[in-house]
Amino acid sequence: MKNTQPTTADLERQLKRRSKAAKLEVWGRVVSFSALILIVAVVVAIIGFVASKGIATFTTNHVNLWDFLTGKDWNPGIKDAHGKPEVGALSMIVGSFLITILSALIATPFAIGTAVFMNEISPNRGAKILQPVTELLVGIPSVVYGFIGLSVVVPFTRNVFGGSGFGILSGTCVLFVMILPTVTSMSADALRSVPRYYREASLALGATQWQTIWKVVLRAATPGLMTAVVFGMARAFGEALAVQMVIGNAALMPHTLVDPAATLTSVLTTGIGNTVMGSLQNNALWSLALVLLLMSLVFNLIVRLIGRKGRLH
């Protein structure tokens, strides 16, 4: 068969015709772009809605922002001696941070220890037993954790430390178990991403396995490990149900770890159904939600900063 080339005019027509492939590509772009638009719109709408409602406390109800952040009395239905509504959120902000930091402090060593065991010391058993167990723990619904907290942890703290058993301590114990699998599996990812040749280089220099883990692997994985901890903190900060079931839900400044206390989330979940839209009580809860939202943005920012810093090395 002779290999004949088309005339210039024919060739131009063939090359400039919109083929099926080109149409498909345009279609694909439209679909993925609209998905993106939808997601961005939802996020913007959520932030906008929470912000507009949350700000109403300060614009419509004329609550001082400083009083809101530093006031210790939370009783939005009642006015104090000066005729100002009692909407001090400090006790809940303190409760949220305390419970987050404490549970992260306890969970981090366990999580990193488990990750080291899974990755460095016994990869076989780690992959066969620990990995599925951690994944299972991540999937347990928070109401189950809360229920176990209520029926096991609360009586335990009551018997050991006295008081009602409800409080920061019980909340910390429950959150510790809840964030442990998240922090563990992310720490394990961080350790896995340390190249094998780092370990080889260290061992070839006569370092023991422990020295290699401590001085080389953990150092190289530090940004990833910090990200894991911050993610765990973000989860602890935002957890509502399980905490609400064990913390006691008294919006008071916690003086000890076994006093009943409250977090931003626990006050929100208990209160949001019992207020009338547009009232100060309702607006004050939205302000708490706004604080929560801003904090989760801060956690996200921290994760990004750590990631960027980690790349520079």
Partner: protein, 273 residues
């Protein structure tokens, strides 16, 4: 896999091993009846070699011939992934025994890898790493040893003003010489190099070879290389590996000018592999 069956059968008889016997360069390391298994498959058998002090011995052979496996077994870097049986005699001591402290042994038998693998630390800290693990903490002592190692690795003049800079900013050739400096900071007796120049450009390779020739005065060097010219240029002895066995071992000049085994001759003349 590169050789047809007839030649393989021929190999069984055709081996030519001449161990070094130079009174000026006594044997410091030797293997006896060394076998390496990955799981059930045997990756190395019949790899009994003696290595002469302050000489460079090159291990050559096609990919998968067992030369890297052999090298990595010498300082027991294969312990966790393979089973190594037989004796590895280092100055009269069998270091392939369970009661030998592998960490102490690796201080004396150091290793440099194919891919330059500096830690994500400063140049100074990379070299001080192993020293600090050994309890050297005095600043003056560390400074002195870091400088000496960098000088021996011919890197001092290029990096002396930027010792605190990250080692990851070094070029490939510089990074590989940093790895050599790091390995010799502990003053090992023997230096094992696993294709140290394969990731380097020709200029860096030739600088690395000059460095190795100088290091020979202080250390016994065993180097795995794919580059036959490199083996011919720098080594005194050459071992030819094929399919998990040493087929020929002799002085480098013999291996390259007068190979006795047909497969060796084919390999060094570029006819296969």
């Amino acid at each position: 896999m590169f050789v047809n069956n007839d030649v393989s059968k021929q190999d069984m008889e055709e081996r030519h091993i001449v161990q070094p016997h130079d009174p000026d360069h006594p044997v410091v390391l030797s293997t006896e009846d060394l076998h390496v298994y990955y799981g059930k498959s045997e990756a190395l058998y019949e790899g009994d070699l003696k290595f002469a002090q302050n000489q460079i011995t090159a291990l050559i052979g096609p990919s998968g011939s067992g030369k890297s496996t052999f090298l990595r077994s010498l300082n027991r870097m294969n312990d966790r992934i393979a089973t190594v049986t037989g004796k590895i005699m280092y100055r009269g001591v069998d270091v392939n025994q369970p009661d030998v402290d592998v960490y102490e042994m690796r201080r004396r038998i150091g290793m440099v890898f194919q891919r330059p693998n500096p830690f994500a630390k400063s140049i100074y800290d990379n070299i001080a790493f192993a020293l600090r693990l050994r309890g050297v903490t005095a600043k003056k002592d560390l400074d002195e040893k870091v400088e000496r190692s960098l000088r021996q690795a011919a890197l001092w003049d290029q990096v002396k003003d930027e010792l605190t800079k990250s080692a990851l900013a070094l070029s490939g050739g510089q990074a590989q010489r940093l790895c050599i400096a790091r390995a010799i900071a502990l003053r090992p007796d023997i230096l094992l190099l696993d294709e140290p120049a394969s990731a380097l450009d020709p200029v860096s390779t030739s600088q690395l070879e000059d460095t190795l020739l100088k290091l020979k005065e202080h250390y016994t060097i065993i180097i795995v290389t794919h580059n036959m010219q490199q083996a011919a240029r720098i080594s005194e002895y050459t071992a030819f590996f094929n399919q998990g066995r040493v087929l020929e071992y002799d002085t480098t000049s013999h291996i390259f000018t007068n190979p006795r085994v047909q497969v060796t001759s084919d390999y060094v003349s570029g006819n296969f592999g």
